[in-house]
Subunit: 346 residues, 2 copies
């Protein structure tokens, strides 16, 4: 190392942020080291599409419209989503070389152990299947696609990141697209701002809510990578504890709100994203407003659907609500929310 | 909890930053929960002085001038620092009710096991003694003062914080000043910016060095508290690992650079802050520049001394240099630095 001179890493001076680099936690659970970490999942999908150069990319009609911006408009195709949240027969017809994106809604792979997808994958050996795991910390079953997309910020307090991970067991070795570039520090600060504000001032909704809205609106497809900050934070997530807390919370909601439940199983093997409920037509936004007024913030999946959705997909987007059951909340929080929901929906 | 309404914590919505809240690590090691956590140590001392309303506050002449701004100018008194880095006989003469600040230089309590200070404390039962532990992760001996001040950002990659911790064993129960207020998120962002930049782009000195300079210049006495971010990061510091790494690194430097060493013990019981070296008069800045040119950034303690320093204190400030030996660096880094130093100092 003698004469390392200008090219060696700086030695001394003020400390950079000191955050353990465990390589464990959620980072290890998702096998992220085998894949690529982009700034967001839309960018990760865009990189895969650029490399694979498919004829078309198939999306479900029930999905976040912004996610489809990973693909040039002319290449987008849509299929309808059936009652079990799998692809509806007759609407998904990929040609060889196409890519099909399927969503593991609310954390669950459609069909018994993902059977709804496995049949499609077997029937289309020259099509690439991508599992969108934005809502799936762990589906509890083997992967059905050749790739998985993960979006840690949907499941935990991670500022940025969208992971593209090859599933070696399901179709042989995949070729990774080119790696993304390290993000500029301003991008990391922007992704962090609202989350930092919420951690520092947890009760000050008026501080962090607008910060988050502004940042969510700024998401874009880019060749930027995930931050080191987010990677290390993922390494600190206790996956077993998070999963246990989500399961326990979900059971409280499944018991209290069974008449509204979208999903049949009150104690599923997959790690639940949230507890989706189905309301009467026209009732959803009224109930959501009533809950907001009590400081309860369920999510709507999704206010903006892409393409021309089927009647069923449109109905979901208009009448479903996803109640939170994540690791931040206790069973007491769940009981309070269940009472508030039942009161508002009555 | 029924009817909690607007006053309950918000439930759901986007995630705040997810960082384990262990209450362990450096936070526990310093007993921080028994004390108060301000934005910086100067503010912590200022709060103590405001509550205690002493006639005078005694500082060593060899100290960072900015630190003395915790106290109104008219109340400041200075004593000289002797060859062993304890108070020089005849220069420290506190009256009852005064406060004396003593620095555990480079991590070490002066005298055998802090004896230089214990004798003073015993001789002045009506004087309050404050140990400045800005450089002391662990002195390896029992506290000698009634209070300790800690400054985590001097010892680890923590964005902000200055802790005031009562030492119950050394003078009975202390009364804490009023607690500081939660810092605005802008202050946390400002404290974090350069550290985040250095973590994200570790080789890009031209990015983070000016960011750090700008922030250091902005430090001020305030009633703001330490951030939640910094508190949680402290909880993640592995004190045993950090201490072991610092000891191992220090031994490499003590062996290679013995002729320049300020401290006698090549393998001390205290956790070393750095490895201070003594150069010939007029040589220090030339050596520092030569090291900067090789990407090695030793520290100068201190470019600005307060008051009218003794000849010995002035000589230290002009001819000493502190080489880093902290947890970021390996023994190979130490060997490289030792070679560079010996070459520049020859």
């Amino acid at each position: 190392m003698s004469g390392a001179g200008d090219t060696a890493a700086p030695l001394g001076g003020f400390f950079g942020l000191e955050l353990p680099d465990t390589g464990a936690g959620l980072w290890a659970h998702w096998g992220a080291a085998r894949g690529l970490a982009f700034a967001n999942a839309t960018s990760a999908l865009a990189a895969l599409v650029r490399r694979a150069a498919p004829g078309a990319v198939w999306f479900p009609g029930f999905v976040c419209a912004e996610f489809t911006h990973a693909v040039p408009e002319g290449q987008r195709r849509y299929y309808a989503v059936d009652e079990d949240l799998g692809p509806e027969a007759g609407t998904l017809d990929p040609a060889p070389g196409d890519i099909v994106v399927g969503v593991n809604y609310f954390g669950r792979a459609a069909g018994a152990a993902g059977a709804a997808w496995r049949a499609r994958v077997a029937a289309h050996p020259r099509v690439t299947f991508v599992e969108d795991c934005a809502q799936a910390l762990d589906t509890g079953v083997a992967p059905w696609g050749q790739w998985r997309l993960y979006s840690p910020r949907k499941l935990a307090g991670i500022p940025d990141g969208g992971l593209l991970v090859p599933m070696d067991g399901a179709g042989g070795r995949q070729v990774l697209p080119p790696a993304p570039e390290a993000p500029p520090v301003e991008a990391v600060q922007a992704a962090l701002a609202a989350k930092l504000a919420r951690m520092e001032h947890p009760l000050d909704n008026a501080l962090w809510h607008p910060m988050n809205q502004a940042h969510e609106a700024a998401h874009a497809v880019s060749g930027q990578g995930m931050s080191t900050l987010s990677r290390r934070l993922m390494g600190l997530i206790d996956v077993a504890a998070v999963s246990a807390r989500r399961h326990e919370n979900y059971r409280v909601l499944a018991e209290a709100l069974a008449p509204w439940s979208v999903l049949a199983d009150p104690d599923p093997a997959f790690v639940p994203f949230g507890f989706p409920v189905r309301l009467a037509p026209g009732q959803r936004d009224r109930v959501a407003q009533a809950l907001y007024g009590q400081g309860i913030f369920p999510a709507v999946h999704w206010r903006d659907l892409p393409g021309v959705p089927s009647a069923r997909d449109r109905a979901r987007a208009e009448s479903w609500l996803t109640l939170p059951c994540d690791q931040r909340w206790s069973v007491d929080d769940m009981a309070r929310m269940a009472r508030a929901f039942a009161g508002a929906a009555a």
